[in-house]
């Protein structure tokens, strides 16, 4: 059987650390908000996009990096 756990994959950890850094707003000039996009400060939109990227990353991890075959164990 092919056994795969996200926690053992370097690529998962690299992606997680990078995206975790991006969903923290440390890289914007303090207190800045201009330009506004549809009434939303630019930095908030970037944080939302980074959050969406994290959701997509989670989807990728679940679909491709997680296969423990736990149910097959039960059937054997």
């Amino acid at each position: 059987k092919r056994i795969s756990e996200p926690v053992r994959k370097p690529l998962v950890w690299i992606g997680f650390v990078v995206l975790f850094a991006l969903i923290n707003p440390w890289y914007f000039p303090a207190g800045s908000w201009s330009p506004l996009v549809f009434g939303v400060p630019y930095w908030a939109l970037i944080i939302l996009l980074a959050s969406l990227a994290l959701s997509i990353f989670i989807t990728w991890v679940v679909m491709t990096q997680w296969e423990t075959g736990a149910d097959e164990d039960e059937e054997l």
């Binding site: 000039p29 303090a30 207190g31």
Partner: protein, 499 residues
């Protein structure tokens, strides 16, 4: 300042009565479909490990998003502005943290028939004191969480009906219904009602957002108000706000993922594929819930400017009231919204109560008091202790103690101290039982002391200071202590489950 709700009174009572009746009917349906539910711990507490994708997804969803998400988050966004956007990524972090332990935990749950988080700790460490300490911390945290939900039910029902239903009557009505359907059908009842409650919550918040955008001005209007009156609400976080943002991501990400009632749902999945598909759906829900209620709070800044902190707590009521006055559609939509809020609170409370009872049934009574008892008897004891705890908590909710009230505030801070044992124990065969016990105890004491003293050194939350000390003692103690080959072999037998 009390908001006079345009849709209070009898229409509110009608919706709540219908909602209560529907929940009870679902409980009876779950019981009639599976009369053996009282005979098996697996069947009663985990739905026979057979929850399908949609039911599993909605039970995760309704358990994770409580009534406070709808009623409490918009006022916070109103006061903090875009600084509170952190509420979207912190819900996504919960799912990310799940991915670090759920795959292995699910596999171990299948292999060893694990029923509760404490079950896993007992299997891994084979230590009475670690098991009992973890059980006490979880029961304590869950009890306080339940107390918070009971207070919210009373306030919600009383607020929705404009005081027509008194606080106490609202609490008793919904708690009796909740206990009845949980008693009858166990996890299946809770999961089926969670599905209805989750749909009600989603409908409510989306309608509130659409109505707010149409009638109360959109985000550009709110931005103009903030530029004129409070530009700091638009600005990127600085200094202490950045620390708070980081702490919330870590604290909520880890804390909510290891909530015992959320943790236990991993064991209830029908298959690994079911669990995976539920998690994928959960990864996008923060945008539809936390994101939506955040926008509602921001729109409130221009719709109801200059509210004091106390007044802003009523923001959702004010906005719903303004929308209910527009036309018949929004009148009933707002009635359903508040039904959805009560539903969200009840759906969190029922999950907490079920897990509370399961720890009593399986981990305390079933393991140490009467290990040879029939499973039906273990279930009955768990139910009875659960009901007794509910009665005590209701009395505390009605007559809050004048002193020592802070002991009822601790929940996240305490529950997160079980994280090293729960998560590190899955992967590290060298993890030392004694170090786990000392770390868990010291972390709890430090977190409680900082909370009671109101201390937040460097702006970091007390629960995280406790977790840091806990981890240092846990990891440091394991590295410096002697580990016997027998100990390692036993750990590898448990966690090295792959063939």
């Amino acid at each position: 300042m009390e908001v006079e709700l345009a849709f209070g009174g009898w229409s509110g009572i009608l919706v709540l009565a219908l909602y209560g009746g529907l929940m009870l009917a679902v409980g009876i349906y779950a019981f009639l479909r599976n009369r053996g539910v009282r005979e098996s711990l697996d069947e009663y507490y985990l739905g026979g490990r057979g929850l399908g994708v949609m039911v599993l997804f909605f039970t995760f969803f309704a358990t994770q998003y409580s009534g406070n998400t709808v009623v409490g988050y918009p006022p916070t966004a109103y006061r903090l502005g875009y600084q509170y956007l952190v509420s979207v990524p912190f819900f996504i972090m919960i799912i990310m943290v799940y991915l670090l332990f759920a795959p292995r935990l699910y596999a171990l749950g299948r292999r060893f028939n694990l029923l509760t988080p404490v079950d896993w700790i007992d299997l891994r460490f084979r230590s009475k004191k670690v098991t009992i300490l973890a059980a006490i911390l979880m029961l304590y945290g869950l009890g306080n969480y339940l107390l918070e939900q009971f207070v919210a039910i009373g306030q919600g029902v009383s607020g929705l009906t404009g005081g027509t239903i008194p606080y106490q009557v609202g609490v008793v009505f919904f708690i009796v219904i909740m206990v009845a359907y949980s008693w009858l059908g166990g996890m299946r009842s809770v999961a089926y009602t969670d599905t209805i409650q989750g749909i009600a919550l989603l409908f409510g918040v989306l309608t509130l957002l659409i109505g707010s955008l149409i009638y109360l001005g959109g985000l550009p209007t709110a931005a103009e108000t903030m530029i004129a009156e409070a530009p700091q609400k638009l600005g990127a976080p600085t200094g202490g706000s950045l620390t708070t943002w980081f702490c919330l991501l870590v604290l909520v990400g880890i804390g909510a993922a290891i909530y015992p009632h959320a943790f236990q749902r991993i064991f209830a999945a029908r298959s690994e594929r079911t669990l995976k598909r539920s998690f994928i759906r959960m990864a996008y829900m923060p945008f539809l819930t936390a994101g939506v209620v955040f926008m509602v709070g921001i729109i409130g800044i221009s719709a109801f400017p200059d509210l004091t902190t106390a007044e802003s707590e009523q923001l959702v009521g004010m906005m719903a009231n303004a929308l209910a006055n527009q036309n018949a559609f929004f009148y009933w939509a707002m009635v359903l919204l508040f039904g959805g809020v009560i539903a969200a609170i009840v759906s969190t409370a029922d999950s907490v109560l079920l897990t509370f009872s399961s720890i009593i049934s399986n981990d305390l009574y079933g393991r140490y008091i009467a290990p040879n008892a029939e499973e039906s008897r273990k279930i009955l004891v768990g139910k009875l202790v659960g009901v007794a705890a509910v009665i005590v908590l209701v009395l505390i909710a009605w007559y809050p103690p004048g002193t020592l009230y802070q002991i009822f505030v601790l929940k996240f801070e305490v529950l997160i101290q079980t994280a090293p044992a729960l998560i590190l124990g899955l992967y590290w065969s060298r993890l030392n039982t004694q170090a786990v016990f000392i770390g868990m105890l010291a972390g709890t004491v430090l977190a409680a002391a900082f909370t009671f003293a109101g201390l937040r050194p460097l702006g970091v939350y007390s629960g995280l200071w406790g977790l840091l000390l806990n981890l240092v003692l846990c990891v440091g103690g394991s590295l410096v202590s002697q580990v016997t080959e027998a100990h390692r072999q036993r750990a590898i037998e448990v966690i090295g489950w792959q063939r």
